[in-house]
């Protein structure tokens, strides 16, 4: 099964979901697709459908309204999968910390594998986070337990 395991790392398809941040991180994520960073070099694709995704890339602090959405997207992503929380909001709530309408971070709702810091997170950091996530993905078996790790 060497090839399959290797293939898992070589072909991360990313579902990107914003849970209510300022869109700064989202723009940086899209910047990764541009010729300057060109993440497709590593087989990464931005996919619009959780059923096809391997990596959930979440930005924003998560509010009460989209909490369930996040849970369902996570549930609909087939195993093995990893979750990357991109940016300060996704990690702790960021500037929205302690706001009544937010939950203060993605890990309040779904297990997170990798945190990418920054406000907004830089594309290099995001790519670094994905690489870290892929290492975790390689180790994962279907339905494995998630352990958080930090990038930068």
């Amino acid at each position: 099964m060497g090839f399959l395991k290797r293939a898992r790392v070589k072909s991360p398809w990313i579902l990107h979901y914003c849970t209510g941040g300022c869109n700064g991180c989202d723009i940086e994520i899209l910047a990764c697709l541009t010729p300057l960073y060109d993440v497709e070099r590593f087989g990464m694709l931005n996919i619009g459908n959780p059923k096809h995704a391997d990596v959930l890339m979440i930005t924003g602090p998560v509010n009460w309204k989209n909490r369930e959405v996040l849970q369902r997207l996570y549930a609909q992503t087939p195993d093995p999968k990893v979750v990357i929380a991109v940016g300060a909001c996704a990690a702790t709530g960021g500037v929205f910390h302690n706001c009544v309408n937010t939950l203060g971070g993605v890990d309040k709702v779904i297990p997170v594998d990798v945190y990418v810091r920054g406000c907004a997170a830089r594309p290099e950091a995001i790519i670094d986070g994905v690489v870290l996530a892929l290492q975790k993905l390689e180790e994962k078996r279907s339905g494995g337990v998630a352990h958080a790790a930090g990038a930068r």
Partner: protein, 286 residues
């Protein structure tokens, strides 16, 4: 004709097609990236994608869907094998239509709005390219006196000099069948996210891998059909097919997606119009 050689060729083709098709798709992504000023993924990327999808867990939202996706694969394989056995082109295209139908049935069975919209558009795509493929087979008969692939090899002249307009029409059909802009309306290839993923929305993991594998077979079949336009000698036809493939990629990268009414107009107006003009010219001039 004896069946020994055709069977050897067909078995070899069935075994090699995934390799060729996968590399072609890799070339597609590489070239597309280069045209956009990027480096792009390695040539072997489609195989990694395939392997990863096979290893993922299944998510099934309708039993009928998974039945039809297997039918899609097996029927395409049947059409593919028939082609390389040198069989009747119309039979090949009819079976290929059955395969396309199976893909649409699978998406319609899923009951997801995205999949169903995609399926309806897939049917519109078939409405657009089916007449072209059928008429192209007739045009080949006009030139060779037979409807079979075998008869093309029997003929002593290449087809392209006599059927140039038919070739152009087939290119239109090829663009639709390869799901390239401007007519990738059913599933939005290259992670364009209109309609989520259209017909493929409800498939995941191994089923998606199966669809990808089927696309490879389809692609090789279409390229082989293009190569038929110049089989004396065959390598010229293969070069022509590669040139056509490159042309499709180029068009894909410079064209925006158009509406289905445009697609129907282009394929019926240009496609059918060109074939009919070609056949009329042939009967008048020769």
């Amino acid at each position: 004709m004896t069946l020994t050689w055709p069977i050897i060729i067909a078995v070899a083709a069935v075994l090699l097609a995934p390799l060729v098709g996968g590399l072609l798709r890799g070339l597609d992504r590489k070239l597309t990236a280069r045209m956009q000023g990027r480096l792009g993924p390695p040539l072997t990327q489609p195989f990694y994608d395939f392997g990863k999808l096979v290893g993922k867990s299944r998510s099934v939202s309708s039993r009928a869907s998974i039945a039809w996706v297997w039918s899609y694969f097996l029927l395409t394989l049947t059409a593919f094998a028939l082609f390389f056995l040198g069989q009747d082109l119309l039979v090949v295209f009819f079976i290929l239509a059955f395969a396309g139908g199976a893909l649409a049935f699978g998406a319609l069975s899923a009951r997801s709005p995205y999949a169903r919209f995609g399926a309806n558009r897939e049917l519109l795509q078939m409405l657009s390219y089916e007449p072209i493929l059928l008429l192209a087979a007739v045009a080949i008969y006009f030139q060779t006196g037979g409807f079979t692939v075998y008869s093309v090899f029997e003929a002593n002249q290449p087809l392209l000099p006599f059927l140039p307009l038919v070739f152009v029409a087939v290119l239109v059909a090829l663009g639709i069948k390869m799901r390239k802009s401007p007519f990738d309306i059913a599933a939005s290839e290259h992670a364009h996210q209109e309609l989520v993923r259209g017909v493929y929305t409800e498939y995941s993991g191994p089923h998606l891998a199966l669809i990808e594998l089927t696309h490879w077979y389809e692609l090789v079949l279409l390229m082989a059909f293009l190569a038929l336009f110049w089989v004396q000698p065959l390598w010229v036809g293969v070069l022509i097919a590669f040139a056509a493939y490159f042309l499709e990629l180029w068009i894909d990268n410079i064209a925006a997606r158009l509406r289905w009414s445009w697609m129907l107009g282009a394929s019926w107006g240009v496609g059918i119009g060109f074939i009919v003009a070609n056949l009329v010219l042939l009967s008048v001039l020769l």
